[in-house]
Structures are given as structure tokens and as C-alpha cells.
Symmetry: C2
Subunit: 368 residues, 2 copies
DNA sequence: GGATAAATTGCACACGTGTGCAAGGAATTC
DNA sequence: GAATTCCTTGCACACGTGTGCAATTTATCC
């Protein structure tokens, strides 16, 4: 109760109390076979009674191992990241590692401070779960001299290990689902133009249409930024097109949410008048009106996979440098058949089967 | 490039290179006035060139200060926590502290592991930002012997420092807003019965009605659990009542989202037929259909305040043990005047002014 | 019972950093 | 020029833990 927080008890204190040397205590607590089992048991009891807790700093100093993994993210406020973090954390904990969280909030100065903190605490590896990680960031991280694994990174990053969801395959999934429902006039509201995920989704969209014998209509591809406004503008633009689309594939769920809102205020019913499909499956997708049909990224699995990859690297093993995980379709209520006589010209199912998947799962060459 | 990660450079390496003792290097790098400025500058240059990064473990070992604050949360997946964490983090960083994140995911075994990790890394203080923190958790945390500050804790926790939003005042805000719009038939869909926040919101609801001369109708108070289902069930129950309410105050935004959905599927327009107000102002409240009017908790400020409080405690200063921060109304589009002739019987504005606020901002007595 | 092997323990050093104290050197004063 | 002060530097120890090696005790064997 009123005990002052003086100094924590160390193995020397235990040694003094037990009448042995601190080496013996150290060995007893670490379960070394070099101590008499009876003595060991006695010491363990005493340690527990004295409330001993090992000092991680002292241990890591002598073992030259911290057991800490740096986890770099822009902000926790992104609900998309939370699941990834959960996956990373779970695998890390199982393997006896701890996470050091470094958030930058996209502030260059804080990014630097974060990297310095990682360096000072001697992290053994780093996972970057922030797609918008600054351009300066990566070189600094590399200078740490520890293995790095990126999750869903937006740029081609050669010679770096990374895990990503398969945006191309996800887009194929989305568009062929719409084709299967009978749509042929399918639009795409894009994400940030420079983002690789956007480029891959666009590619999947285009090629799925072509494979189904449909020539993509440039008027049905509108730019965006991944935020709700983009969905609103996108719908407005699409409604001005000479021929209106009957379905819209959105770069992500936030865009789809904006699209839902714009559709509603334009007096369109979803999905009766217009089908809308998103991408990501954020927590909230289940609660939109109507609940959003979307392509789920395997967030949790990506976290787990990235951490497993890092563990391999930490053990000096070789790994494939680039891994893509498949997305899956989550059917809710924002998609349905097209309004009137929009009969598909060819069977979309056969088209889907014919599709090649140019996105190989292994990419780049091992670094020397 | 091909450089092996051998061993990091230490002050001894610098000392050897500079032809001085490691003490001089240490002093130079720490900016001690006990070194010749020219020597100091030379050493700093050399250190930078050699890529020196201080070892936090070694430093904390000798200074007996880790500069680490433990942050305990159930899960990052709760978007409500993200803002709190941001506030905590910002103040911590300003004061030169770092955060050690301990998530438990409500698993007792992991809770224990988390507390042990906090103890081993010798955190200097702890912030608990998880309302659902296990009952066992707190005693273990207390055993760490460091200051603890709770954020929005759901139980009365005597002799512990805490920061919370003022649920009572928030409820008063919500209900008097509805009164001002002209409603008199106001329902409450409650949260977890044992949660203090629910009790305070219920109290605010009841007393505001009474102060306006309205006798609360027990049929308009339905139980819930803070999740969307509760909102759906709640609306269904309320629609079966002999006299229907014209407005619903929900325990939180997730409940309100369920309520919105149920209202829609019952064919009610919001806010024309039914006004709905939430609590929390989660990220998603702005994107519901219609956008949700709600009571915003000062999440970011709560984080900042809790961390400031902890900083005071770390410096051995005294603080008020219990601090409540006011909520504020965020008007969006889910509330409006009642449908037909629901004329208020008394002026709700004057009622609001007469309201006492029995929730004092200071509570409990200082521990000895 | 003595010699040998095995089990158990302690000594001493290491990890990287910080700091009190004494020693050495330079600058100042008379 | 000698004495005094101040500035600068190095020595040595400390923090808490782990471990190779030698020393000691105990068990085993003939």
C-alpha cells in the first residue's frame, strides 16, 4: 500500500537474501541446468515473493538482442490499419517479440524522430504498414541496417521485402461479379492516380471488361482520391455522361460511401437503379445504407504474413521478396441486376475463366 | 550497401578513433560544459560520420529512467480509441516520453503477458484507455508501483487518477437540444447497464426531462449494449409502445446506426418522422444516411489531459484525481422538429438554464 | 578409503553509457 | 617567475544481467 517505489529488486538483492551469488540466481531464473534443482526452486520462490521482475534493458544489453520489432504507421486513426496491426502483433507475440509503434502522422519532422527512436531502441526489424509513408522515410529506415517488410506499399520498391493484397485479382473479382449480375455498362471511380493499387485495380477492371468482349468507355472512368468526396463527384460526373452506367466499381469503400450518398441525393435507388461495389471491407461497410457489397482485403492475414516473413529474415533465411494475398468478395446489398433490358452479350462466367493473371506472385530479384 | 550489420558503433569506438576516453565522448555528445568546445565539436562530427546512435537500453540502465509510458488498450480496432491515443502520444512526445503499447484483446492471459511486458520494460507510468479493461487488470497494474491514469473508465475506481468526458452534461446537451426542437416524447436506448457512462447519460436524460416539466415514460427507456443490434431492437420495441416517441437519444453512435437502419426498414423517414441523436461522434457519424447528429466526446483532449496529468504525477506533483471534460453538440441531419402538433408545453430553453449540474469535476480524496 | 568424475557454485568480466573525483594542463594573478 | 585558479581530461566505478572458466563440493567408482 504505502510502499515507496524506491528501487526495483534485482537479482543481487535476491542473491543476498538467498545467500548465493548473483550468477546462481541468474541461472536459476533462466532455468539453466547448472544449478541444483532444489536451490533453483528455492530461489524462484524467493524471487516471486520479493516481486522480482527482470530488467529488459539490462538483459538486452548483454544478450545484444532486444526482441523488439518496429511498426511504422502514419496514424492509428485509419481503421484499415487496425486489423493489419492485429495480425502483426499476434505473430510477433507468439514468437516472443514485442512491438514498438512509430507513428508519424505524415509530418516529416516526426518521421525523423520516429526513425531515431527505432534506432535508439535497437529494433531488430521493421514493418511498415503505411501506404502513404514519406519518400524520405525509407532511406532512413534502410540505414538502420535491419530487415524491413512493407505492407501494401504504393510504389514499386525494388530490393525490399513486401506483402500486399492482390489489387488486380480483387478488381477482376468485382467486375466479373457485376458482369455475372448482368451489367455491361460498368464505371470505375478511381483512386490516387500514382498509387500502384489504383493502377492495378484499373488494369483488372479494363482487362476483365475486354475479356468479356466489352470495350471500356473512357467516359466511365473518372479520377478520384480515395475519399468520400471523390465518390460524390464521380457519381455526378457519371450521371452527366451521354449513356449512363448501371454499375460503379469504386477504388475503395470510402469512395463508395460518397457514391452512395450522391446516388441517393440524385434520387437513384441502390441497387435497383445503380449497383455500387467498394474495395477494402472496412469495419463500416456493413453499416452503410444499403450495406455495401465490397472486395475484402485480407488485412489480418497480411499482417500475419508480413510478420512471418520478417521472422524468417531475422533467422537469416531466404524468402520470396514479394508476396500477394488474394482478396475475396463480400456480398451485401448494394449490388443487384441492372434496371431494365441490360442483357449481357456474352457469358461473363466463361470470360472470367479465360482471364490470365499477369500479376505474378513473385517479383524482383533477390538482393546480393 | 553490402555492409554487414556487425555491431553498432559505440562511444568507445568513437573514443578510440578520436584518441580520447569514452567519458569525454559521452560528455561531448550530451553537451556537457566539461569538455573543450573544439574537442566536443570534433567528436560530434566524428560521431555523425560514424553513424553513431545512442543505445537507449544502456542509457536507461545507468540513469534509471526509461522515458517510456505504457498505454493499455483492449484493441486498436476501436476507432474511438485512435483519437485518444493521438492526444496521449502528442503530449508524451513533446515531453520526451515514448509510448509502449499493450493490447490485450480482452484475453485474460494476454492481459497478464501485457502487464509483465510493461513491468520488464520499466515503464514510468501507465495510461489505460480501455473502458472494458478486465477486473484483474487493475490490481496487476497497480503492482507496478507507477502512477496510473484511467481514461473513461466504466467503474468507480477510488484512489485512482482518471479523466473522463462528462456523460451527464452530454446527455443534458442532447435532450435539451431535442426539447428545443420541439420534442416532448423523447426515448432513450441505453448502453450496458453496468457501465457508469450509461448510468450518467440516463441520469442526464431523466433530469433534463423532469426539469422541463416532463415525466419520463418508462416505456420509452429500453435496454441495450452499445452495439448496432441494440439500436435495431430498441426501435422495434419503441414502435410497439402505445404512444410512439418522436425522438430517440441513443447511448452511442453505434446504437444510433442500428436505430437509423431499423427506422428506415420500418418505413420511417429520419428526421421527418423520427429524430435520432447519438453519442461519441465516431469517424463514421458524418457518413451515415442521413449524417448523424451526435454529442461529441473530446477524445483528443482527453488523451492530452490524461497524459498531462501523468506528467504531473511523474514529477511528484499533486493533481486533482478526477477530471471531467465537457462534450459538445455536433449538428448534422438526423434531428429535426417533431412531425405534427407536438408543441412543447414549456420553454425548454429556460428549463435548460435552471438545470443544476450535480456531477462535480472533482471527486474522491487524495491518497496518502 | 582414496582417486576420479560429475555436479554445483562463485569469480570476474562483458555489454554501453553516465558521472564523481583526481590528475594534468593552461590561463590568470600577484 | 611562482603561486593560484580554472579548464579539460582520464580513471574507475556503477547500473542489472549473462556466461566462460576455475574452484569447490558432492557423488561414483574401484
Amino acid at each position: 500500500m504505502g510502499r515507496r517505489a524506491s528501487r526495483r529488486v534485482s537479482i543481487k538483492d535476491i542473491a543476498r537474501q538467498a545467500g548465493v551469488s548473483h550468477s546462481t540466481v541468474s541461472r536459476a531464473l533462466r532455468g539453466s541446468p547448472l544449478v541444483n534443482p532444489r536451490t533453483a526452486e528455492r530461489i524462484r520462490r524467493l524471487a516471486a515473493r520479493m516481486g522480482y521482475v527482470p530488467n529488459a534493458a539490462a538483459r538486452s544489453l548483454v544478450t545484444a538482442r532486444t526482441g523488439i520489432i518496429g511498426l511504422v504507421i502514419t496514424t492509428l486513426a485509419d481503421p484499415f490499419l487496425a486489423e493489419i496491426v492485429r495480425g502483426v502483433e499476434e505473430v510477433a507475440l507468439e514468437a516472443g517479440y514485442r512491438l514498438f509503434l512509430a507513428t508519424s502522422n505524415a509530418d516529416p519532422e516526426r518521421e525523423l524522430a520516429a526513425v531515431r527512436a527505432l534506432a535508439e531502441s535497437r529494433v531488430e526489424g521493421v514493418i511498415v504498414a503505411s501506404s502513404r509513408v514519406g519518400e524520405l522515410y525509407l532511406p532512413h529506415l534502410k540505414a538502420l541496417g535491419v530487415p524491413i517488410v512493407l505492407i501494401n506499399h504504393q510504389r514499386e520498391a525494388p530490393l525490399i521485402y513486401s506483402v500486399a493484397s492482390d489489387s488486380y485479382q480483387g478488381a477482376v473479382l468485382a467486375v466479373s461479379y457485376l458482369l455475372r449480375l448482368g451489367h455491361t455498362r460498368i464505371a470505375y471511380i478511381a483512386g490516387p492516380p500514382m498509387a500502384r493499387s489504383n493502377q492495378r485495380r484499373l488494369a483488372g477492371y479494363l482487362e476483365t471488361l475486354r475479356a468479356a468482349g466489352i470495350t471500356p468507355n473512357p467516359a466511365w472512368i473518372v479520377e478520384g482520391n480515395g475519399r468520400p468526396e471523390a465518390g460524390e463527384w464521380g457519381i455526378q460526373r457519371l450521371l452527366e455522361a451521354p449513356i449512363r452506367p448501371t454499375a460503379v466499381f469504386c477504388y475503395n469503400d470510402m469512395t463508395a460511401i460518397g457514391a452512395l450518398r450522391a446516388a441517393r441525393s440524385a434520387g437513384l435507388r441502390v441497387p435497383e437503379d445503380l449497383s455500387i461495389i467498394g474495395f477494402d471491407d472496412i469495419l463500416f461497410a456493413a453499416y452503410t445504407e444499403p450495406p455495401l457489397t465490397t472486395i475484402a482485403q485480407p488485412k489480418y492475414e497480411m499482417g500475419r504474413t508480413a510478420m512471418s516473413m520478417l521472422l524468417h529474415l531475422l533467422q537469416g533465411e531466404r524468402t520470396v521478396p514479394y508476396l500477394q494475398l488474394p482478396c475475396r468478395l463480400v456480398e451485401r446489398a448494394s449490388c443487384g441486376p441492372p434496371p431494365e433490358g441490360d442483357v449481357p452479350t456474352i457469358s461473363p462466367l466463361s470470360a472470367e475463366r479465360r482471364l490470365p493473371c499477369p500479376a505474378s506472385s513473385v517479383d524482383g530479384s533477390p538482393s546480393s
